[in-house]
């Protein structure tokens, strides 16, 4: 009997710092530990004692890739508690801002982090060397997303213009009009991206985990909605804590989570499988041509889903820009209310839940933030276990490489969750 241990001490092409340890005894995988060792960042503790008006500025600092997601789930929670609806114009501007984040984040993951795996290349720089025009397309797409973020959010990373109740300043009609030309080019780039990634070779893998995503009755959910699962469960953000429970594991500084006691998956596969009927006709056509059905459970094909979602987000951004009416007031007042508020939105990597308890003066007494990577850790470990079990014939180097691909399929954001990657493979 052969014992093996695989170890990756710092995972490449993932956001943040993490490691992987896998132990194998004979033909049995005895341990799979996705080790998130990035130190806990204590944001929930930072928030205690701060004013409710500060949440979006503090939580946006959790992530440089998806700050809008943190801002959005935060103000969804507090505005829900305070009984405030900021109105259709502000909601539309928030959705446009969030589309910018999806476009930028998806383009980053597709071109710089994920695509090299399908092309046998070590990284995005090698991709740029081998296919300059392709990388230029990816960077144009990313820039289009960043331009939305800068125009609406004030800057591309950690936007400063959004606030509880709306925005400090609403962009002018002319400022949004200037987005149209780069977005029209971006739409062509996004469609070409779908065609390109659909030609990749996808291993035949189907995950059986339950899927969980935000669902909105009127459109493909991004910035708001209720919660839906693949087995037909539906509940509000307020009901999240009744179904989702966090727990500690010794090998990770990020909490794991279960849905009604079982592991589950959030993210593009979940979003697409639950909401694909709500894609725009053009995005739906792109998905069909790329070979996606109504649902997708193959983690390798998540790159196709992200690409289709990029088409959708660009198209949606164009629609929102065309329909823009500068709000009479950029924000509404949100008087403090004592109690507990819950908020969700669809970060690029999946459902992001926030909960805040406020005192009568709006001082935050407690904060709970559950990012998608935390929720997905158990499912990623299960996917790794299956992958290793199915490929024990590979040597350690090849198996390690395959494990890293398996992780990147899920696009974990360790910095968000550390609240992550090195790989250790033990073959006993």
């Amino acid at each position: 009997m052969t014992d093996r241990q695989l170890s990756v001490s710092a995972l490449a092409r993932v956001e943040g710092e993490g490691a992987l340890r896998i132990a194998v005894a004979g033909q049995q995988v005895t341990a799979v530990e996705l080790r998130i060792y990035e130190p806990p960042r204590f944001f929930e503790a930072f928030l205690r004692g701060r004013s409710y008006t500060e949440v979006s500025d503090i939580t946006s600092r959790i992530c440089g890739i998806c700050p809008v997601a943190y801002q959005t789930s935060a103000w969804n929670a507090i505005e829900d508690l305070c009984g405030i609806d900021p109105g259709a114009d502000i909601v539309a501007l928030r959705r446009l801002l969030y589309c910018g984040e999806w476009i930028s984040s998806h383009a980053l993951h597709i071109y710089l982090l994920h695509a090299p795996d399908f092309l046998g290349l070590p990284d995005g720089i090698a991709l740029a060397s081998a296919h300059r025009d392709i990388m230029e397309r990816g960077l144009r797409l990313k820039k289009a997303g960043n331009t939305i973020l800068e125009t609406v959010g004030g800057r591309a990373i950690h936007p400063v213009n959004p606030r509880l109740g709306g925005f400090h300043r609403a962009p002018t009609d002319a400022e949004l009009k200037a987005l149209e030309d780069p977005l029209r080019r971006a739409l062509q780039d996004a469609l070409e991206t779908v065609r390109w990634v659909s030609t990749f070779d996808f291993p035949d893998v189907e995950l059986e985990d339950e899927l969980l995503a935000v669902h909105h009755p009127d459109h493909y959910a991004i910035e708001s909605g209720q919660i839906a699962t693949s087995r037909g469960l539906g509940f509000t953000a307020r009901g999240f804590a009744e179904h989702v429970e966090e727990h500690q594991v010794p090998h990770s500084t990020a909490l794991h989570a279960t849905l009604d006691g079982a592991r589950y998956l959030t993210g593009p596969l979940a979003r697409y499988s639950i909401n694909s009927s709500q894609l725009s006709p053009l995005a739906r056509q792109a998905a069909d041509e790329a070979g996606l059905g109504a649902t997708c459970h193959n983690p390798y094909r998540s790159i196709v889903v992200r690409s289709v979602e990029t088409v959708y987000a660009v198209e949606e951004a164009l629609r929102l820009v065309g329909a823009y009416r500068r709000p009479g007031r950029p924000s509404v007042e949100v008087p403090a209310v004592a109690g507990t508020g819950h908020g969700v939105s669809e970060a690029p990597r999946g459902l992001l839940y926030h909960r805040y308890r406020l005192d009568p003066d709006g001082v935050i007494e407690s904060a709970t933030i559950i990012p998608p990577t935390s929720q997905n850790q158990a499912a990623i470990e299960a996917d790794l276990r299956r992958t290793v079990s199915d490929h024990l014939h590979l040597d350690d180097a090849a198996l390690t490489s395959l494990c890293e691909r398996t992780i990147r399929n899920h696009d974990p954001c360790i910095s968000c969750a550390a609240h992550f990657l090195d790989l250790t493979m033990e073959r006993a």
């Binding site: 740029a128 990388m135 990373i157």
Partner: protein, 154 residues
């Protein structure tokens, strides 16, 4: 001057000495030198750095450096190919990696000089530590000398 020169102040001014790059870029901007652009890049997006130096004949990047043991305020002049690895950067996508990506895309500046200043304090907060603040006039003079060394600049 035959091609533009750009001075790029790289860093986060909310992490004390990491703000040295933006401080110098702003000072260079006040000199209003023809053909010289000064920009601050405060985030980790590689595209921003590539856009800043694309088409430039000379790019001078000013950044903070963490060294052990530290000699705060000491200035290092680095050129492409210097023995700097990409993994130690406080920026997610390192300057060497961005340069490699830029080269692959054909957007590298004609010439790149990195002036790295050893930091004493990279903790959260505003303002340079005393020894890094003392280095500002010397560093500014080094940057201006690099600019004047560009072909066509008097």
């Amino acid at each position: 001057m035959s091609a533009a020169t750009v001075v790029i102040g790289l860093g986060n001014r909310f992490r004390h000495d990491d703000g040295i790059g933006p401080v110098i870029a702003e000072l260079v901007g006040t000199h209003r030198m023809p053909g010289v652009t000064a920009v601050c890049v405060g985030d980790t997006d590689p595209t921003r750095l590539m856009e800043a130096w694309a088409g430039a004949g000379l790019a001078v990047v000013v950044d903070a450096a963490r060294c052990r043991p530290p000699h705060p305020g000491r200035i290092h002049r680095l050129l492409p190919g210097s023995a700097v690895t990409g993994t130690a950067s406080t920026h997610h996508f390192s300057v060497p990696d961005t340069l490699r990506l830029s080269a692959a895309l054909g957007t590298s500046p004609g010439r790149l000089v990195v002036l790295a200043v050893e930091a004493g304090d990279l903790s959260p907060g505003i303002g340079l530590s005393p020894r890094v603040a003392e280095a500002v006039p010397r560093l500014l003079a080094r940057v201006l000398a690099e600019i004047r060394s560009a072909p066509g600049v008097a």
